[in-house]
Assembly symmetry: D3
Homo-oligomer: 280 residues x 6
Amino acid sequence: MAAIDISQVLIEALPYIQRFSGKTIVIKYGGNAMTDPGLASAVAQDVVLMRCVGMNPVLVHGGGPQVSAWMRLAGLEARFVDGLRVTDEPTLEVAEMVLAGKINKELVRILNEHGGSAVGLSGQDGRLLVARQLTHPPGLGLVGEVTAVNTSLIQELTRAGHIPVIATIAAGAGVPGYNVNADTAAGAVASALGAEKVIFLTDVAGIVRDGKVLGQLEAAQVLELVQQGVISGGMMPKVEACLSALQAGVPRAHIIDGRVPHSLLLELFTDRGIGTMLLP
Amino acid sequence: MAAIDISQVLIEALPYIQRFSGKTIVIKYGGNAMTDPGLASAVAQDVVLMRCVGMNPVLVHGGGPQVSAWMRLAGLEARFVDGLRVTDEPTLEVAEMVLAGKINKELVRILNEHGGSAVGLSGQDGRLLVARQLTHPPGLGLVGEVTAVNTSLIQELTRAGHIPVIATIAAGAGVPGYNVNADTAAGAVASALGAEKVIFLTDVAGIVRDGKVLGQLEAAQVLELVQQGVISGGMMPKVEACLSALQAGVPRAHIIDGRVPHSLLLELFTDRGIGTMLLP
Amino acid sequence: MAAIDISQVLIEALPYIQRFSGKTIVIKYGGNAMTDPGLASAVAQDVVLMRCVGMNPVLVHGGGPQVSAWMRLAGLEARFVDGLRVTDEPTLEVAEMVLAGKINKELVRILNEHGGSAVGLSGQDGRLLVARQLTHPPGLGLVGEVTAVNTSLIQELTRAGHIPVIATIAAGAGVPGYNVNADTAAGAVASALGAEKVIFLTDVAGIVRDGKVLGQLEAAQVLELVQQGVISGGMMPKVEACLSALQAGVPRAHIIDGRVPHSLLLELFTDRGIGTMLLP
Amino acid sequence: MAAIDISQVLIEALPYIQRFSGKTIVIKYGGNAMTDPGLASAVAQDVVLMRCVGMNPVLVHGGGPQVSAWMRLAGLEARFVDGLRVTDEPTLEVAEMVLAGKINKELVRILNEHGGSAVGLSGQDGRLLVARQLTHPPGLGLVGEVTAVNTSLIQELTRAGHIPVIATIAAGAGVPGYNVNADTAAGAVASALGAEKVIFLTDVAGIVRDGKVLGQLEAAQVLELVQQGVISGGMMPKVEACLSALQAGVPRAHIIDGRVPHSLLLELFTDRGIGTMLLP
Amino acid sequence: MAAIDISQVLIEALPYIQRFSGKTIVIKYGGNAMTDPGLASAVAQDVVLMRCVGMNPVLVHGGGPQVSAWMRLAGLEARFVDGLRVTDEPTLEVAEMVLAGKINKELVRILNEHGGSAVGLSGQDGRLLVARQLTHPPGLGLVGEVTAVNTSLIQELTRAGHIPVIATIAAGAGVPGYNVNADTAAGAVASALGAEKVIFLTDVAGIVRDGKVLGQLEAAQVLELVQQGVISGGMMPKVEACLSALQAGVPRAHIIDGRVPHSLLLELFTDRGIGTMLLP
Amino acid sequence: MAAIDISQVLIEALPYIQRFSGKTIVIKYGGNAMTDPGLASAVAQDVVLMRCVGMNPVLVHGGGPQVSAWMRLAGLEARFVDGLRVTDEPTLEVAEMVLAGKINKELVRILNEHGGSAVGLSGQDGRLLVARQLTHPPGLGLVGEVTAVNTSLIQELTRAGHIPVIATIAAGAGVPGYNVNADTAAGAVASALGAEKVIFLTDVAGIVRDGKVLGQLEAAQVLELVQQGVISGGMMPKVEACLSALQAGVPRAHIIDGRVPHSLLLELFTDRGIGTMLLP
């Protein structure tokens, strides 16, 4: 590449680095970006770069398919109601084990291999996520909704230069814990931390209408698109988490394409952006 | 109990509280104390009390039997050489998942239920345990020996009032990680932290000769007992970890009976002590 | 004592240690607990233990009988109006000397002998107690009521790990100082410090009706008992100091039996409590 | 006074203020400067000014005559060996009471009346002076020599803007305390604090030979003057304390005339100095 | 001078040192005090003394005549409207160069020669003065009025013990900078810093009526004197800066005679004061 | 540019950002990069980017030609001995004025326009550069060599997030100041700060032999090239400053081509580097 092109990229990144310096960015990590080793490695580089230029990235992840696989090995049957996993105690045990002990630690390792200092946590650690039972739909068992985010542990870690990586098992009262939806948890973490942005890494190009990605939407427009059925299915929990984060004071929520390598970088450090940005 | 007896216990504890205030105590957690819910709950109370009176307890744990159980479910065969688990990549994945995602988080939850603020970590987190391959005996695969303990993360957590709980998977170079012996790791953590004591919770009453627990032994005496065959078998790794910690400057190492409820308390806060204390 | 009993006492103390950690407890020291060497030693142990488990004890004391004795030696006559010592300048000089130079330093010495780091102060030091003349009853001379507590000196000392011990001579304007009632001063110190509790060590079992100690009373109930004459005499200044502290935001005030060894410990660290607790 | 003279005085003081800013100056307070109210008030102004311009003054005082007076009232006989008070337990009690409760608190009050924030302490407080029995001459009883100065309490107080005022009763082991010579204690405090100067306020003009005050002397010259008998009697303990402080690394020791009002100011802030300065 | 006179001066200064300790004093430096080397040296001594006794002096200066001289050398013509310099880009360049590179650095050097640690700045440094174009009178070009004072740089420097010296060129938007009136800038700096005082060093004795300096005036009285024509001409910008500072919360503004050596000292450290003090 | 190329540039920069984070980089600014507005603006962007990604850039500059121009206007004749400007007092005055008031403030303004917070200083400020007279060659007058760099002011500013910009006029003893060579001063500042690198922005491509830029040279090789006459003339002071900085412990010195836009960026953030790097 020509020297002039290199400088141009770096200089184009400068105002973004300035704007986001010292700001918290919560990233919901999932989909192909998590399961494809090449994409995972690119995300790790992006996150380490974010940290290096002064941002405070915080990662939140779930991991549905791998939980189901280990449940099968343990002789447990995976059942879902409205897309939410019915969770009894043995299921919770497997979910926590797979999320906090396998997916979480793999992500920690990749981040550290790229020079970061990641620290993996579940919501049980320092009781950083506290939840109560989700009652609608009924019959889900130990599925919870986040009622409190204990931000001090996360802030201690970011202040010391670490990258927190959070598996979405929450602490509860009188139960061994709760399984919480990772999209919703990411939104809750973002608003509790006063984050500048929450970014959802997904397997779609963004919110699409008539085959075109919509670059920017206000909350009111999003609600219309939901009513019109343009937004539906698997996109719903992400959009709901976005809206709830915006309402709780997070200034920007992004749905970006995790299948594009370095999509985080392109979103954060270039003029073009990528995917759909949601505003209050 | 009579008021006079209550006061006597508390007053007897006073000099121990003073002596250990601000000191780091590393506890190797294992055996019945880990698998029996009642004992586990008592250990949690003891550790939370330690924290409350100003000590910095750090827990280190393994979890062999549960790893083997999940290996079986995953269709992997558990093999051992000299008591050490032969560890290929699939085995390591299961070991990390079970240690860091299951045993670790259960312990975190129990500690938090008793009012602590525990944070569970594996050696991958912040690369707090770094290891290289163990070459003797050969053929063990991804079994490592600790070469560095990155104490800053542990110290940040203890300074902020948390109780670190460490699963003994270590980071490595060019490999996904290493399985390390929890006894040895506890000794390494204790010496890296400049701990005041390392305490091994075991399923025996201490080092025993002629049916009697030996209350106190110097390193030289221990070596003699090994040569005489008084110390052997499963006690060897613990004794070696003790000796290595003593040599690295930890002033006291204890082998105590985890089957006795609150044995930690009795060891730390009473004149009588319990089990065997090893001195340099 | 059986090991099980020892553990039980310590574990019973745990929630109290947690609840009071970092909290300020003001203790009005007086009566037999001050003059009986055995009791004084037990109080010192209790206070040092409080400090060791993270509380911030602050002691406030008077010392009437010893002041009168030294006045006699100096050829001064002790006179009282409504139980308050008529205080001219020579009397004040003797009172300050005996309180700040004798009783205060003895208490400091005993606390230090039990491993504390006590620092003795009078209200003149750093002008930590400021008073104006008490005008009712008239004719008392240099008897004052506290108008300001300069908490910064006390807080610097507690933050540095010391135990402040305060003799109740106050600074004034245009006079060499004021003699202030120690019960009242203890209440004023407690409310200025935002203390969690103020505890009066007395020579009675608590507030008694029909031969029975009343375990707990609300402020309104106390006022009734005063009107009924159940509370009267020497108990009045203590009760008034309690009520005034409760009104100024101190959550709990205790009148306990200083003649029982370690009564402070029993009150603070056990489920049974001791004496009478007053609530707002 | 003419404006030009006023400016000249202030400007002459400037280099001294710069030189001593942040430095510790230990002042042995005694003699007329302590007993004459006008002189005491002038000393207080000087010390408060020192503090205001950034120095850390620390006062050390004894108070022999007043101790003897109160001993008489208490029916105790004052006896001296080699100028040192024979001290049994009742004598120590009176000495501590008079020094720490009367002289100390009077000085605290005067300093505070001039805008300082003085805090009076005895060597028992925070065990800031620790002594062992003085064995030569024999038969002195509880007369001690300082073996340790616990500087942390003094430094905490100076750092927080206070002026420590120290009565020279020391803590001991197995005894209620020790009476220590104030001159010697001042030297010990100065060297423990790494003071810039120790200044002895005396009732003489300085070290005098042939009717002339010697402005400056090196340690070797002082020893000669002692051998020649030019220095003797009551000057000896001061000179010995000076020499011992110089030897322990205090750069300057001063013997100045406390009978001259504001002699401290003249010594510290003017080109002329006053009294005798001793150098290593 | 007699010792007694020396002490008197220092003791008279004590309450002023106490009152102003830690307080910010902004000094508008100009007139003879700036151009006469002897007076400049005396001002430097005064300012260094202020710093030494704990005040935070901040100097603000202009330098009209020297700017005009260098403009002539550069072939530029100096033009004024309503006493304000018409400022095109070449004029601004010369003004910045002379103010920030010559007058500023000379003052820094003199302060440092007297033991201070002065740091010279223009309003461009850290954008500490931000201005917008002054529109009345029209036609002034790059003459600005201060819209923001970025106090953090000034405070960092004072906290580290330095004396900030500020040349009154301001940063602007879309222009190379603005020339701002030094009197007005001093007032703006004083109110932004929450200064205790702003002092104008002038070439007059103060505000004079009927040949007599008025020692003290309230804002309302000042306005009357302006209406009566008693205050007019070159005194107007100073008086306006004073009034604006008072209105913005600065408690005291002083107009003093910079032709009297050490007039700052006399104003700050003596009972007599000097010049005119303006109150809100 | 393609998204993939953008990511590649940013990811290539990552290890350099990590390596230099928190490190001090001293940049000698001069030549075309200073006089060409487009290049100056590019340098400013580069420096602000360095700061944003966690480096501590410190700029050092001279400004010969502009000093000579203003000397002419002031009627002074510019004379040189061995390439060094003969400096009498009037010359020094002009030099300080032009360097510290004109060039320095322009650079500050450009840096701030690109989002930095630059603070311009001369060596007089906080006496950050102290020099003595240069005696070889004789007859240079107020030309100095740096004897001390007072790093505390620079470090306070960088710690607070500012970019120090230093004009090379030094403080002296008994003289108004010294003119010091900017190349040499940059080397002295780099070694005093423990800088990671010193970078000379020049008007050449680097050290050239046989028409080819030498990418990397050790100190010994440089000396050979000097002896062979390959390095000579205007390159000599730069090379000498490099060697002296290397000898004083700066690990790397760079001579790069300031005529290439963003040459700083290319040197610091890409694998290719630019110009000549000198190693110890």
